[in-house]
Structures are given as C-alpha cells and as structure tokens.
C-alpha cells in the first residue's frame, strides 16, 4: 500500500499533480491510499515521496473529466480522491467511459458533482450578511469544501461592498479589489444581529400565504440543517402553527361594507352599444366589444378597416394574420407587403383605397411559439358581416375587390371559384361593382418561382382592371 498525501482538502491542481506522477509510475488504483492534511497514515502504508517527479501531461483525458474532477474534489467524502484516480486510470483504456451513464464510477462521480453543485448553490442562496458600519460579514456552514470555488460569485455580485464569509474550514474576504482566503473560524467571529433583520422577518411573515401550507416542499428546498443560520427561520414554527387558524379566519370573515372611497369611484363606461353607431369611427370603437362569434376570446384585438372615408375602392381580405393581430392594423404583414408592391406597380394610389377584412379577428391554432392561421368558417363570416356592412355603408365604395374566396363568399353569400370569376365584374345590390381575385397570401404559398411569377402576373392583371375602372369613374 502506498499512502498519497495531499496538503489541501479541495485543491484540484495539487491532486492532478500527484495523480499524473502516479499514473506515469503505473500505480494501480488498488495500490493506493489517499490521505489529506494531518490525517494519520495506516500502519502498513508507505509514503509517496518515492514517486517520479515527472509532472507533465500524460496522454489525454476528456475535458469533461477535468470539469467533473474540479467539482468532485470539493466533496466531503474521503473516498473522492481514490474514485477520481480510479476513473482516470480506467479512462486510459476507455476514453468514452463518462458517456456511459450506467457505469458505477460514473454514477458516483456524477452524484458527488451534483452534491457539490447543490452545496455551492446553497452557499450562494443562504449566506446572510450582517453589517458592521460599511462592512458585511456572514457565517456559513457548507456541507462540502465549496467556499473557494464559489467566492468569485460574491465578488462579481458585491463588487462595490467590503465583505467576508467565515466557514468552519476556511474564510474569504473582499476589499473591493482583492479576494483573499484565510483559515476557518466560528460563529462568534461575525456580529450577532443586524437591524435590517427585523424588516426581513416582517417581509418573510407577510409574503407567506397560510392557505397554501406545504412544509415538506419548503424543507426539501431549504433543509433544516441550514435553519440555524437563517434569521427568518425562527419564524417558521410559529407561522406553521398559526396557519390553519389564519386561513380559517380569512374564510370566516364575512364581506364587509365597501369603504366610502369605493362608492365615490365611478365605474368606467361600458363599450358603446351598436345602436349608437353613427359613423365609421363609432363603428371602429364599438367593435372592441364584439362578441358575435367566439374568435375574440383568443385574438389580441379586432382589426378594423383603414383608409379614407370617401375611398372609391374597398379591398376586402379574409382575416387579419399574426402581424395584423399584434399591430391592430390591416394588411401590415407579409401578405400586406405583397399587396402594397403590386398595387404600387399597377399604379393604384394606396392612400386612396380602403382596406379591410371579411372577418375582423385573427383565427389560429397555437403551435409552440407560433400561431398557425385557420380559415374562418361560414358562421364566423356571417357573424362578422355586420361590421363589413357598416364599413360599406359609411364608405360607399363604387368598386369592391374581394381578395380570396372567403371575402367573395361574404359578399355574394355563396362559395365561389376564383379562377372562373376573376376578370368579370359583378354588380352588387347597392350598385357597387365587385371584382374577385386571389388573396395576396396565396402568392406567398406557391413554392416554385415560376408558378409564383405566373400567379403574380394574373393578380396584377386583375388589379389593372380595377385601376382602369377607377380611372373611368374619375372621368365622369
């Protein structure tokens, strides 16, 4: 048996130096006993002074092992050095060993590493500083040797503060410039109170909801062993004892008369009733309260039409899309951009047309972080016709352009085929002329470049008819 002596409890570089030399010397894991600090050697153990001094890299180990070992070295289990060496030894034969999550040594090291991670986390969480003048000092009892590796967290967080953390095995100090480590101490090394702790306890007691008592949950996240150094923990028992009574009091307390202040406050007015609608802007306001179908429940907001009140031509799409729903404005998404491009090219003045949709709320199904457009059904189109009719009444367009089959259906009351009906104006009951063409989003969905160009040309041709019709109207 060879006794390997380490000076420090948790110094990865020290262990690595020894381990390299042992590996070079071909020392088997079973031949070694690891000792740390002043721990006494066994009767039959030899010292490690005889090892080769060569301390260079020996072969390579996965990066993952280095990270794992740097963490495991902080664990309090005395076997940690031996198991790490055994893993290092075995990695020489099988460099993929750490990927085998079912291997017993891998399981052990992983478990220790997570114990260390948890302890470091508790250190970050449960340190409680007490102030003396402008200095902040804390007493903490970690389960493992985690102070040195965790201290930089505190320097990053409390850079502008002078602070110290004292533990039984080591201490750390920051003077706003340098981080120093010193020997361990006792609870007496830090102040026994801090004026702010009263407010902290007040907060702790007030934020607790007695109706939701879950003591086991609290204990699993904040184990009892930490309580003795947490100022708020002395409240835990009384809070639990009184919880059921506090909850019952809340339930028992009957509703009381509202205070006078409340009665003075006037409830906000309800949305406008539809019979008050006298203008396009009245309609745009009233639609905020629309419940004519269920689409309002999921959509952000209704999207009313936009454009001059005396527009000659009204373009009617199917329904707002994702972007329109978010912005509250029609034709601002990708299809709207196609629409803008084409009418500009054709020579229709965008500022002189009124654009709207047959259905005013966005219909979709959620798919993760996206909303997938759904076709409105006939019921929804019918329900929304109320608003479209108001728009037509107030704007009185001479030309109406239905973009897509759904818009056409809304206007003539039956399903239509665009390919059969495009290019042929139809007269509506109010005297306006209806043109039917594709919805611009249709152009976006065509996968091949050629097909897209062909359909875009057809779309442009339909809009040219509209442009010519507009010019004709102006001559009269």
């Amino acid at each position: 048996m060879l006794s390997v002596r380490l000076e420090r409890l948790n110094d990865f570089d020290e262990w690595r130096g020894k381990a390299r030399r042992l590996l070079v010397a071909g020392m088997k894991p079973s031949q070694l006993v690891w000792r740390v600090g002043s721990e006494e050697s066994g009767l039959f153990e030899a010292g490690d002074d005889m090892l080769p001094q060569a301390d260079g890299p020996i072969g390579s180990v996965p990066r993952q092992f280095i990270d794992l070992a740097a963490s495991v070295i902080q664990h309090s289990d005395p076997e940690r050095f031996a198991v790490l060496y055994r893993m290092l030894w075995r990695l020489q034969q099988d460099s993929q060993l750490l990927a085998n999550a079912a291997d017993a040594d891998t399981v052990m090291l992983t478990k220790w590493a997570s114990g260390v991670r948890r302890d470091a986390h508790k250190l970050k969480a449960f340190v409680r500083f007490r102030a003396i003048d402008d200095r902040y000092v804390a007493w903490f009892e970690p389960e493992h040797y985690t102070l040195e590796a965790t201290a930089p967290f505190f320097t990053r967080r409390f850079a502008g503060m002078v602070w110290g953390i004292v533990t039984p095995y080591a201490s750390a100090f920051w003077d706003k410039e340098n981080l120093r480590f010193g020997p361990g101490g006792t609870k007496k090394d830090v102040p026994s109170e801090d004026a702010v702790e009263d407010d902290w306890q007040t907060y702790y007691a007030s934020i607790f909801n007695p109706a939701r008592l879950k003591v086991a949950m609290m204990k699993s996240e904040m184990p009892v062993k930490y309580w003795r150094n947490l100022p708020e923990a002395q409240l835990i028992q009384p809070l639990i004892r009184n919880a059921r009574q506090m909850e019952q009091d809340m339930i028992d307390r009957a509703t009381t008369q509202p205070p006078a202040r409340h009665l003075r406050q006037k409830a906000r007015e309800m949305p406008e009733e539809t019979h008050d609608i006298q203008s396009l802007s009245d309609a745009a306001e009233a639609i905020g309260g629309c419940r004519r179908c269920s689409l309002y429940e999921q959509a952000t907001q209704p999207v009313f039409g936009e454009g001059p009140q005396d527009a000659e031509v009204m373009f009617i799409g199917e329904q707002p899309g994702d972007q329109e729903d978010l912005a509250g404005r029609p034709f601002v998404g990708p299809a709207g951009q196609v629409f803008d491009e084409v009418i500009e090219k054709v020579g229709i003045d965008r500022s002189r047309v009124y654009v709207t949709n047959a259905v005013k709320h966005f219909k979709f199904v959620p798919r993760g972080k996206r909303r997938i457009h759904q076709r409105p059904d006939s019921g929804e189109i019918q329900a929304c016709k109320f608003w479209l009719n108001l728009e037509r009444e107030f704007v009185k367009p001479k030309i109406v352009v239905a973009l897509g089959a759904r818009a056409a259906q809304s206007l003539i009351g039956k399903a239509v085929s665009i390919s059969k009906m495009r290019g042929e104006p139809i007269e509506l009951e109010d005297g306006a002329v209806l043109y039917i063409t594709n919805h611009p989003s249709y152009l976006l969905r065509i996968p091949d470049v050629e097909g897209r160009a062909r359909e875009r040309a057809k779309f442009a041709a339909d809009l040219e008819l509209v442009r010519d019709h507009m010019a004709l109207l102006r001559q009269h």
Binding site: A102, A159, E232, R253, H262, T300, P302, K369
Partner: protein
C-alpha cells in the same frame, strides 16, 4: 390619519403582493458589478434565497408600490370595495428596502407591482421611477421585474423595458367573459394588446433579426410573463390550457403562471371561500411543461382526464399514457426521442441519458433504473434488452398500482 411606520407598510404591501405567483429571477442577460463598482449580478439561473412554509421560493422582494386601487376586481385583495388596510410606499422607500435586503443577500432583486392610483400612466410612471433610481443612482445590477399596467402609454412601457429584466401583464382569468364578470374595469383585449406591444418591442431587440444599423436599445432581456388565477371562476382545465397555449404562441411569453385562488381577507361574496386547489394548480404546471417541452398539444393532454379537466390523481403524462396504452411498450433501445419523451417517468434528462448510453450497449431494465428517478413508473411502458412488460401494460389495475397512496397529514 396616523402615518404608518415603514415596517407596517412593508407588512401591508408584501401581504398584498403575495398572490402573484411569479418569482423567477432567471433567464436574463449575464451581467455583474465588477466594472461599475456598484452591486448586483444576474448570471442566467436565478437563486431562491429562502422558502416560506407555503413551499414557495423567496427570490425577489415582492412588493406593491401601493394597495390603493381604483379598480374593483372581485378576486383581488386590493379591490376598491375591500376594507383591507391601505398603504403607499414612496419611491425612495422601495429603493432603500431593495438595497438593504440585496446587500445582505436576502434577495435576487425586486418584483414591483401596484394598485392603480389616479391613472394607469401615473402609476406606471412611479414604478418606472423606482427602477430607474435603482439602476442610475445606485448602479444596481440585480434583477428587476415590473408589472405592466395595460393602458399605460407606450413610452412608459419602453422605459420600463429599458430598466427591467422582465415585464409582465396579468391575463388574470382564462376566459374573457369571466374577466368581464369579475373585473368590470379591465378589458381583455387591452391586456392582450399590451402583451402584443411588448412582443413587438422584444422582437425588435432579438439579435437574430435583420441587422439594423444601430444596436437596438435594451428591452427586458428576460422577456415577458403572465399569471392566470385558477379556481375563482368555473373555467375548466381545457379552457385554461387553451388560453395558455394561445398566449405562448402569440406573445412569446417565457412563462404562464397558474395561481390557485386563495381565500383572501374580506373576500367578495361571489368567490369560492374554500382552500386553494393546490393539486389542480400543480397538474396545470405539469401539463404546461408537457405542452412546451414534450411535444404534446392541448387536446392530447386534456384527453388524459375527464370532461375537460386533468386527472388530479396522477400526473398528466401518466394519465395520457394510461388512456393510450396501444402506444406502449416503447423499446428504449430503438425508439426515437419523440416516443421516449412520451414514456411516463422519463424526463428530458432521462431521455438524453438513455440515448447517449444506448450507443455503448443495449440497455437492460437495471440500466434504465440507474438513468431515471422512478423505474416503477417507467417499467410498464418500456421494453429493454431483458424486459418486456407483457400483460402489465394493459393491466386494469395499473392506474391504482401507480397512484401514490394518500399520506397522513404532516405533523410538525
């Protein structure tokens, strides 16, 4: 009127804030105070500095600026018709409390909400001022979560996003009709419009967008979240999860918080005065998780229960599996990731471990047991090198076998 002490105000305004479930302090940008010489840091994952006996983490100093409120939402302790004691902090008082607590390592930062006083703009302006003072005057780099008042001016929202890590707007109740019923002054579409506006601002600052000339101004790096109250109205779990899925997809929310309705002092007589449905809340969180990370959709999850409600007795994945036994057993040595994720008892980490380990050798049941937390739950639903569940998968008593036995109430 007698002036309240700061401690009394703290008691009132913390008590008023505890019904907001959100406590997250994670997911923000990485920053610290090394360069500024101030205090504060956020390093990705948040830290829970304490736990109250309700099992909830205390990570942020959660306060209302004031619990005076002109609204009268039936479910809220601060509604104008309630006789709860009222208080109001000054901006400086909140700033000082935050710094005092933070320097003693009690908290990760501040979560500030408020009742509506005077107007939405006035209220929002006060909250923004707290955040600005912390950041600019005190070089505070800790976490700040601000509640958004739906109707506040867009400029105020923009400034809130400049100082805060996270912004949130509460949807409050799962259906619009319930909200109108219980919160007469709130407009559901105004709440969603506020979320849509935040999403617009968040999209502008997302780096993978087309490169713009100027570096986009910082805006709420930890994104936006919301909260829904569960059990105050009659909505079923299907309605709640449908609403949540709609919000996730429309506004890129980081989280939807579900808050079991707790009896509140001086409650409105229109509300259920019973203990909060904590198990239901728990099941909703599990279902939410399955929808976001496990490839389930809302109808699938809800199909595990009955009548639009999740099964309270077993977790939603197990409930789904018990009703879809034809999809099992899943072979752990061959099945792809999507299928493995549907096995009860196998989480994302467990699935990753299965996939990486099976490259080395064919996995036995004992191997799987080492890779997962609860092999008992997994066993009936998988096949391994030395294991097939045989009739176990279709055992009529399987649900009973896998349901945890009711425990005696805990004594302390």
């Amino acid at each position: 009127m007698v002036a309240l002490t700061l401690t009394r105000k703290l008691a009132i305004l913390a008590d008023a804030a505890k019904y907001d479930a959100s406590c997250a302090s994670s997911g923000s940008e990485k920053r610290d105070s090394t360069k500024s010489g101030g205090i504060g840091s956020t390093e990705g994952s948040g830290i829970c500095h304490s736990y109250a006996p309700d099992g909830r983490c205390i990570s942020l100093l959660k306060l209302l600026l004031t619990n005076f409120c002109v609204y009268d939402c039936a479910y809220c302790i601060n509604r104008s018709s309630s006789n709860v004691e009222r208080a109001r902090f000054s901006v400086d008082e909140v700033v000082q409390l935050t710094l005092d607590f933070y320097k003693r390592n009690y908290i990760e930062g501040l979560f500030l909400s408020s009742g509506i006083i005077r107007s939405p703009d006035y209220t929002m302006e006060q909250m923004v001022r707290v955040a600005r003072t912390l950041r600019e005057t005190h070089l505070f780099a800790g976490y700040i979560h601000l509640k958004v008042i739906p109707n506040a001016a867009p400029e105020l929202l923009a400034e809130a996003g400049r100082w805060a890590d996270r912004l949130s707007t509460n949807i409050e109740l799962p259906t619009d009709s319930a909200l109108e019923n219980f919160a007469p002054e709130k407009r559901p579409s105004e709440i969603r419009t506020a979320m849509a506006r935040l999403r617009g601002k968040l999209d502008e600052t997302t780096p993978d967008k087309k490169p713009t000339k100027a570096k986009p101004e910082k805006f709420a790096p930890a994104g936006q979240s919301t909260q829904m109250i569960v059990g105050a109205d009659t909505a079923d779990d299907n309605a709640i999860l449908t609403r949540a899925a709609g919000l996730y997809s429309g506004y890129k929310l980081k989280r939807v918080y579900y808050s079991a309705f707790s009896p509140i002092p001086d409650a409105s007589s229109r509300l259920p005065l019973s203990p909060p449905p904590l198990m239901r809340e728990h099941r909703l969180y599990q279902a939410d998780w399955l929808i976001r990370f496990y490839g389930f959709d809302v109808p699938e999850i809800v199909s595990g229960g009955e009548g639009g409600h999740l099964d309270l007795g077993v977790d939603p994945k197990l409930a789904w599996a018990l009703k879809h036994r034809a999809s099992f057993p899943v072979d752990v040595n061959r099945a792809d990731r999507e299928l493995l994720l549907r096995v009860p008892g196998l989480g994302i980490n467990g699935v990753d471990r299965v996939i990486s380990s099976r490259r080395h050798h064919r996995l036995t049941l004992a191997d799987v047991a080492r890779l997962t937390a609860s092999i008992d739950k997994v066993r009936p639903f998988i096949a391994a090198a030395d294991w097939t569940p045989g009739g176990l998968t279709d055992d009529l008593r399987l649900r009973q076998k896998l349901t945890p036995q009711p425990k005696q109430l805990e004594l302390f």
